[in-house]
Symmetry: C2
Subunit: 521 residues, 2 copies
C-alpha cells in the first residue's frame, strides 16, 4: 500500500465520499489510486475555484467534509476566494494539495511557491506531510480538524514522492469530541432574556436549521424576544411550517435601525454584527453602548475543533431554562406570491422564483442587488434551504450550487445568480452538465456591477466620470449568457418578461439535469 492508498482508505473509513478535483502532474499518484479504492467519487472542475466552492456547498448540505484535490501553490491560489467563503461559512473542507517531491523542492522549479503562506489565511489547520508512512495519520488529523457541521478548512500539502512511497495502511477516524452545553452561558442568557428590556436573539450557524429554529421559537414565545438571522447565513432552513427569522439587512445604517428598539442582543451561533464595509461617519460595531450583548454561543476560530458548543442544543437548554412550552412557537404559514406578470425587475423576479420553487428546494442566492426582494417573497414558500455568500468573495454561486446538488441529489437546486459574480466561476456549469445535476441557474443580467453604482454614490462620487462608470458596467459588449451556458453543455434560454420566466422556470425544474435562464433586467 502506498501513501495515496492509505490516505483514501483513511478518508473513506471516516465517511468521506467526494473529492472535487483539478489535479496536475504532482498529484498523479493520488489520481491513479482513485480507481483502486472503492467509495471515493472524483468530480472534475475546470477551474480550482469551482472545486473549492463546490466543496463549500457540499459541506453546507452534507454536514461532513468534502475533499478538494489541487495542484501546487498556483492551483490552490485559484481556489482561495471560495475557501474564504467556506471559512466564513464554517464549512468543513479538507484541501489536498500536491507539491513537488521532497527532494525536488530545493530546485525552485517554475511551479514552486510558498504554499503555506497562501494556505494560512483561509485555513484553520495547515500541515505538510513529511513521509508516506504518516500520510494516513495526517489525513485523519485533517478530517478531525475540519470537523463536521460548524466546521473548518484544513489544508494538507502532500509531496509527490510521499504519495507513491510505501505506507503502512489506513488510520481509524478520530472521534470528534461531543459538544458540551455551556450551562453558565445558558444561565446568563436566561437571566438577560428574563430582564425587562426588549431583546433580540441573533441566529447563525446551526441555529438556522430546523432543530435550532424551533428551539429559538420556543424562546421567543416564552420571552417576547425577536428572532433575527445573520445577514449572510451559510445555510438557512426556512419557509412554511418553520419559525420565522428576518435576516439582518446589509448596509450599516439599516442594521442600526433594525436593532435600535432592542436593549439586549443574544448571540446564538452568530458573531456580533459589524459593518460589511467601513463608511466614513459610520461605526464598525453595529451594537451601541446602550445595548447589552450576551455571547451565548459565538463562533470562535480559536477553539479546538469539535469543542465548540452545538448552538441548537444550547438553544433547547435555554428554552427549557426559561420554562418555555415544549412545543410551539410561531411558524410561518404557507403563502406564495402569485405568478408575476409584466416587466422583469427585482420584485417580479423574486416573486417568480418564490412562486414556483419546489418543496425542499436548495436556493443558492448570489443575486446581489437583484436578490434583496427574494427574502420577503419566499418567506412562506415550501420549506427550503437558503445558501448565501458568506465571505463576500464573489463567484460563489455556481460552484456552491454544484456541490449542494452533489450532496443532495434528491433536492432541486436553484442558483439565483448575479451576472458580474457569475463571470468569476462560470466553468461550474460544465461540471453540472457532466454530472447531470439538477441545478437551474437563473442569471440576473442587469449588465452592471450594480452594487458599485450605489457604492460610488455612498463614497460621495455623485457624478462619476466615464472611466469610473466604465468600471461598473458589463455592457459593451453585452454578455450572452445563453451562448455561455450552451457552450458548456447546459440547455439555456433567455426571458424578457415575468410570464416567460415563470414558464421557463417550471420547464427547467421539471426536466432532469442542469438548465440556465438568462433574465434580461
Amino acid at each position: 500500500m502506498n501513501g495515496a492508498e492509505s490516505l483514501y482508505r483513511t478518508a473513506v473509513a471516516a465517511g468521506i465520499e467526494v473529492c472535487f478535483a483539478n489535479p496536475g502532474t504532482t498529484e498523479m499518484p493520488l489520481v491513479g489510486m482513485l480507481d483502486r479504492v472503492p467509495g471515493m467519487r472524483a468530480v472534475l472542475g475546470l477551474f480550482e475555484g469551482v472545486c473549492t466552492g463546490a466543496a463549500d456547498g457540499y459541506a453546507r448540505m452534507a454536514e461532513k467534509p468534502a475533499l478538494t484535490l489541487l495542484h501546487l501553490g498556483p492551483g490552490f491560489a485559484n481556489g482561495i476566494a471560495n475557501l474564504h467563503n467556506a471559512r466564513r461559512a464554517r464549512s468543513a473542507v479538507v484541501n489536498l494539495i500536491g507539491d513537488h517531491a521532497t527532494w525536488h523542492l530545493a530546485a525552485d522549479a517554475p511551479l514552486t511557491s510558498d504554499i503555506e503562506s497562501l494556505a494560512r489565511p483561509v485555513s484553520h489547520w495547515v500541515r505538510r506531510n513529511r513521509h508516506a508512512a504518516e500520510l494516513a495519520t495526517d489525513m485523519a488529523d485533517a478530517l478531525a480538524a475540519a470537523g463536521g457541521a460548524g466546521g473548518r478548512v484544513a489544508t494538507l500539502i502532500i509531496p509527490h514522492d510521499t504519495q507513491y512511497d510505501a505506507a503502512h495502511g489506513p488510520v481509524a477516524p478520530r472521534p470528534l469530541p461531543a459538544a458540551a452545553v455551556d450551562t453558565a452561558a445558558v444561565e446568563r442568557a436566561a437571566a438577560a432574556l428574563r430582564g425587562s428590556g426588549p431583546a433580540v436573539v441573533l441566529l447563525g450557524g446551526g441555529a438556522l436549521q430546523a432543530h435550532g429554529l424551533r428551539a429559538a421559537a420556543r424562546i421567543a414565545a416564552a420571552t417576547g424576544a425577536r428572532l433575527f438571522a445573520e445577514t449572510f447565513p451559510a445555510r438557512f432552513d426556512r419557509g412554511a411550517g418553520l419559525p420565522a427569522a428576518d435576516r439582518l439587512p446589509y448596509f450599516p445604517e439599516q442594521v442600526l435601525e433594525a436593532l435600535a428598539p432592542f436593549r439586549t442582543i443574544v448571540l446564538a451561533g452568530a458573531r456580533e454584527p459589524v459593518a460589511f464595509f467601513g463608511y466614513a461617519g459610520m461605526p464598525s460595531r453595529l451594537v451601541t453602548a446602550q445595548q447589552e450583548v450576551v455571547a451565548f454561543s459565538v463562533p470562535d476560530a480559536h477553539r479546538p475543533p469539535g469543542t465548540e458548543p452545538c448552538t441548537a442544543t444550547m438553544l433547547e437548554a435555554l428554552a427549557d431554562a426559561l420554562g418555555a412550552a415544549p412545543e410551539g412557537g410561531a411558524v410561518v404559514h404557507s403563502q406564495r406570491p402569485d405568478a408575476p406578470t409584466g416587466l422583469l425587475e427585482p420584485g417580479s423576479v423574486a416573486a417568480a422564483i418564490a412562486a414556483v420553487q419546489p418543496e425542499r428546494a436548495i436556493i443558492v442566492e448570489e443575486a446581489a442587488t437583484t436578490g434583496i426582494a427574494y427574502a420577503a417573497a419566499s418567506a412562506g414558500a415550501p420549506p427550503h434551504s437558503l445558501l448565501c455568500l458568506t465571505g463576500g468573495a464573489i463567484g460563489q454561486g455556481p460552484p456552491c450550487a454544484t456541490g449542494a446538488a452533489i450532496a443532495c441529489p434528491d433536492r432541486p437546486v436553484i442558483n439565483f445568480q448575479a451576472d458580474g459574480s457569475a463571470m468569476y466561476t462560470w466553468q461550474a456549469l460544465w461540471t453540472q452538465a457532466r454530472e447531470s445535476l439538477n441545478v437551474t441557474t437563473v442569471v440576473c443580467a442587469n449588465r452592471a456591477y450594480r452594487i458599485l453604482m450605489f457604492e460610488l454614490m455612498r463614497a460621495g462620487i455623485v457624478e462619476p466620470g466615464p472611466k469610473a462608470m466604465s468600471l461598473t458596467s458589463l455592457s459593451s459588449p453585452t454578455i450572452d449568457w445563453v451562448l455561455l451556458g450552451r457552450g458548456l453543455g447546459v440547455p439555456s434560454v433567455r426571458v424578457e418578461t415575468a410570464e416567460t420566466l415563470v414558464t421557463e422556470l417550471r420547464r427547467a425544474l421539471a426536466d432532469p439535469g442542469p438548465h440556465l435562464i438568462e433574465m434580461v433586467l
Copy 2:
C-alpha cells in the same frame, strides 16, 4: 488633493499609463479619481486573473510596469496564479489592493483576510500604506521596486480611508540605478569560453531580445559556442534576420540529452536548468557534475531592484572581450512552411500559424502539447515576439495576449492556446472585445488535459481506470468554444481542416478587433 489623486499623479509622472482593474467598494476613491487625473487608462477585466495576466503581458512588451487595481484579499487571490507567472517572467507589475479602512480592520468584517500572507509568495515587495500623506511616497517606492525590464512584482495595500484622506501631492519618480557591467563575470566567462571544451550559452530574460541575441551570436561566431534559450522565455524575439537559439526542451531526459555534448554552460539571463517536475530516478539539476556552470548573469530575486546587470549589455562586453567581430554572427534566413492541407494535427496547426503570421506578430503560446511543433515551424517566419508560460500556472494565455495588445496596438497578437488552460481565464475575451484589441485566439480543442495523459504514463499508471481517465478528459460534455467566444462578443469560427484554418487565420488577421478560431483536433 487626496491620497488617491497623489498616487495617480505620482504614477503618471513616472510614465505609467495603464491600470488593469477589477475594483470593489474598498477602491471607490481610487475609481472616482480616475476621471480627475489625465493620463491613466483603466481597463476592466471581469476576473482578477485577467487583470494580473494582462499586466504581465503588458509589462513583457512595454518594458515598464502596468498597474492592477484589485479588491481586498479574495480579489487579489484570484490574481495570484498569473502573478506567479509574472514573477517567473520577471515582469514589472504593481498591484494596488484596496483594503478596509484602517479603523474598520479590527472588526474582522466578512471580506477581511491576511492580505500580506497572500501577497508575499508572488511579490518581491509588499507594503501596507499607513497614511494618505505617505501614499505618493509608497507609490514611488512600489514603482522603483518593480523596476522596468527584468522587473519585479510589487504589491501596495491601500486602506479605504487613506485613499480619500488629504495628502500633500505627488512625488517625483525615483531614478533607477544604472545597471553596471560585472567585469569580473565577463572575464570569467571569456576564460571559460576560450577553453577547449564545447560550450553552451543559455539565454534568458533580456538576452532573448534583438540586442542581446546579436551579442550572443557574435560570441557564438567567435568561440563556436552553441546558443540555447531557456525552456519558457517571457519574451523571445525571433524569426528571419535574427540569430537562432533553440529552446531547451521540457522533459528532464530531453534536457540532459540536449546538454550532454557540452562541457561548459554559461548562464546569460537564465537560471541553471532544473526539471520542471521531479520524476523518480531523474535528477532535479539538469547539469551534471562533469559540466562547468559559469554564472555570467543570473536572475536573482534577492538583489535590490535596479542593481541587476543588463544581460544584453554584458553579452556585448563579453563579445568584445573575446575579440568577436563587431558585426555578424549567423542569423536565420527567411523561410516559412507552405500553407498546410489536410488533417488538423499539431504539425499542421504549427505550420498554418507559421505560414500566415504577419510581420512583427506577438505570439502568446500556451498551447501545451499541441504547441511543441511550433518552435521549429516558425523559426524562419518574419520577426516576431514569442511569449511563453513562464511559471506553469495555466490560464496565462488569453490575459497575457490582452495586455500585450494594449502595450503594442500596432502589432497583431496571436494567442495559440490550449483548451484546458483557456477555461481558466476565458473572461479575457470580453476585455479584448470591449477594447477592440487585435488578438486572434486559436484554441486547440483536443478536449483533454493531454499532458496529464503523458504524466499518468510517466507515473507508471499505464492502464489508468475510468476515474483517473475522467480527470484528464474535457469531453462529456464537449466545450463549444465558438459559443463561448461569441457569448463574450468575439467573432468566432470552428475549423476542422488545415485549409480552413489557414483561410480563417488570414481573414481574422486582416480584420480589426479580436477573433477566435476553434481548431478541432
